[in-house]
Symmetry: C2
Subunit: 304 residues, 2 copies
């Protein structure tokens, strides 16, 4: 089996109405891997950091059984930094600064021991890099990809090429609409399916997530949390929980895809309760199962 995760590692400085953190551990590869690590191990990690990346983060990732053979440490460089501020309703945020640093010249090198990965999760990075990753691994069983408005607008051709190789794409509502120029989300999902991914997941933040395939539409609610402190990384935690569950079970049936969506939602719900990756740090499998069952309670009604 084996799950390979590629993406960014960042120091995030985040302000929300409920607090703030400075240069806390973040980035798509981090959130995806940590979330997935509750389901499958070791998670194969490919990313780049600078010489300023502290040993405590390395230790944390190793403790989560994340295989860092694919982590490039550019000693003379600095780790990617991002700063953002969330509005009062947490659905809107302003980017305050983005310092790419070592991430600007990231060349995803795949260690030999990672090349046979059956599951690949491409975090939100340049679609050219995403494609390079896929060229450097043997044929995986499932490729899950993320992207963002920035790439949809700045590199549409490159993204279109990469999307052809994705089995699953995980996008939010505005990305789905922007990709297809179609406001209706069901139609947008169906158009995306013509661009490559046969499985489309539309993340809707506090409104949950919808899975669309050729013959299935499934909507999972978001967990109704009273205390959301930091939405950063929720989408990546979703992707990590989703692909981690699939890698664990190696079952791509419609029923198991639905379960995977709920596990993704489960990890996202833990993620947003605390700042940075704190919400994903010390979970037990029992806690995850309990919250999964809460999703059952939340959405179950009599069939007649």
């Amino acid at each position: 089996m084996g799950l390979l995760v590629v993406g960014s590692v960042a120091f995030d400085s985040v302000e929300t109405p409920f607090g703030s953190v400075k240069e806390a551990l973040g980035g798509s590869a981090i959130y995806i891997s940590v979330a997935a690590s509750y389901f499958t191990a070791p998670v194969r990690f490919v990313a780049v950091v600078g010489g300023d990346f502290p040993k405590e983060h390395i230790r944390f990732l190793e403790e989560r059984n994340i295989d860092l053979d694919g982590l490039q440490i550019v000693q003379e460089g600095k780790t990617f930094r991002w700063g953002g501020r969330y509005h009062y309703d947490l659905n809107m945020r302003d980017s305050l600064y983005t310092e790419l640093n070592v991430f600007e010249k990231f060349n995803p090198v795949i260690p030999g021991s990672f090349k046979n990965s059956a599951y690949v999760c491409l975090g939100n990075i340049d679609p050219i890099l995403q494609r390079q990753v896929l060229e450097r691994v043997a044929k995986p069983r499932l490729v899950v990809g993320d992207t963002m408005n920035y790439w949809i607008e700045s590199k549409p051709k490159e993204l279109a090429e990469t999307m052809k190789a994705m089995d699953v794409i995980v996008v939010n509502e505005s990305e789905a609409r922007l990709l297809t120029n179609e406001p209706n989300l069901v139609k947008a999902a169906k158009r995306i399916m013509k661009l490559g991914p046969k499985i489309v997941i539309i993340k809707k933040g506090e409104h949950g997530a919808t899975l669309v395939t050729e013959d299935t539409i499934f909507s999972a609610p978001a967990y109704p949390l009273e205390n959301i402190n930091d939405p950063t990384g929720a989408g990546d935690a979703f992707a990590g929980g989703f692909v981690g569950w699939l890698a664990r079970t190696d079952d791509l049936s419609a029923e198991n895809l639905k379960r995977a969506v709920v596990y993704g939602s489960t990890l996202a719900s833990f993620c947003v309760e605390k700042f940075s990756v704190d919400g994903l740090k010390d979970l037990t499998y029992l806690q995850i199962q309990d919250r999964y069952r809460s999703f059952v309670q939340l959405s179950r009604f009599d069939e007649r």
Copy 2:
């Protein structure tokens, strides 16, 4: 039993990216009653129209087994008119004009035969009028009320008084936040419960609806329609389906409240497929049951 519905009757002129209608039948009392009429009959209707209200609409309402004893026809006046235009993504609309006409001096007179109604649904009208209605009926088993930003901002004290007498309040997300000054929807719902209604339903448009009670949270998705033509009345159709189901079953258990939310969502989904009340005109009970089962498909996943 008996379900009493009070609200507005309007001639709506609506433009959406998919078409338009001029002076079509609309108003909260209309949408609520027509939706509810698929579950319980006769629906007791209290509203006001002008002398310009055509006989064909009267016939339509009578055919739906709606009891018009409470319909006041002010021969020398004109029916309430509203015009609006929806944006491309249908989540935003601009009101183009509002002509209250006979609705401005609406005094909801409750016919004697309506006073024993066990279920009362108060459409979105002045909270003072809503309270008058409740003073004029014997103690109902369940009072469901709607409101809107306009009343929350312009008559907060009157609304607070009326809310004390509501068992269920049906609000959308922005109304819930405005009522409580609380962006988190779970917290907002809990605060609303302290203002009177022990059952709070938050309508989320294309994202479904969430039911919150003391010990239950339940989220129903919206039906993933590919063709939405006119969102007007969806919230009222939801309320009508919800209260109609409860009046039919006379069962206020948590399990049945969940079913009622899904029946509300079902009627709302039919409503938005066509302009005005056309989507609610010629449904069969079988069609409604089929769509209810589609909601099961849409939201069901394995418990473990």
